[in-house]
Symmetry: D2
Subunit: 88 residues, 4 copies
């Protein structure tokens, strides 16, 4: 038998408790994720209070997350394109 949940299964307590478990687990994980998002926001807010620019910090973090060689290649291409357009 393949795992397909049909309408009649929903009269089944087993199916109902499976669903409840799924939803509960997701909600729990979402809560934790939200808490982390708030922690991150706090760090940015704090850093702003200490004179750092949050927008630039964010750029920095994104940059560090990327593959450095790829970052370099794109930066070089961008410069090339800028020069071609006379953007110096």
């Amino acid at each position: 038998m393949t795992a397909v949940t049909t309408q009649q299964d929903f009269q089944n307590n087993n199916t109902q408790s499976q669903l409840k478990t799924i939803v509960t687990r997701i909600e729990r994980l979402e809560e934790e994720k939200k808490a982390l998002s708030e922690d991150i926001s706090e760090v940015y807010a704090e850093s702003k209070g200490n004179g750092f620019d949050p927008k630039v910090i964010k750029q920095l973090v994104r940059l560090r997350a990327k593959d450095p060689s790829e970052v370099q290649e794109e930066a070089e291409l961008l410069d090339l394109y800028k020069m071609a357009l006379g953007m110096v």
Copy 2:
């Protein structure tokens, strides 16, 4: 003195270590957040394997996260609008 980080501060070791701390904390929190996102994806994948529709589960979770009275009001308005357009 107000907390403004000027260019000359960056010759200062204190400012440098502050920045390092900020970035490190953010990266750590981002990692944890990513791990949670993956956990959530796993739950959806499992539930799909058990015959539940992930898309609909997601709708359900979103619905449960909202204020019930607001949900109801919007649903009623939507029905009204549908009727006005003959969408029955």
Copy 3:
């Protein structure tokens, strides 16, 4: 010869003018797109002024854009799941 733009091509006027054309066309199209977005926002604002709820109007528009049978199927599944969780 295949169409690969190499660094040395950028000393070439042809390549430069190609790039300029590309960027100009994109910028033009982006402007028009932005104008349309603003027109849409205006319609929502007007409708709000006439007593319609923009959020619900938007739901309605999204709904109409989708395949009706799919909409129906998902709505039915959602009801089923809600019942299984005792959300009636």
Copy 4:
């Protein structure tokens, strides 16, 4: 009288035709917007065929859309932060 559309208004043909007009206008504008998005995608695809990197072209376009002095300031700050982290 203020402009509030109440439930009873929906028995009113005037309200119904207003709603129809609103939805129709939005759908029309959305279509045009979608067409423009496709045009933009085409330009990127063409440019790729001519050896340009679409990702970098996009960066260029975004850059040009911003206030140059702001761009410069952020770039300088970013460099400062990178140096502070020893990213040279």
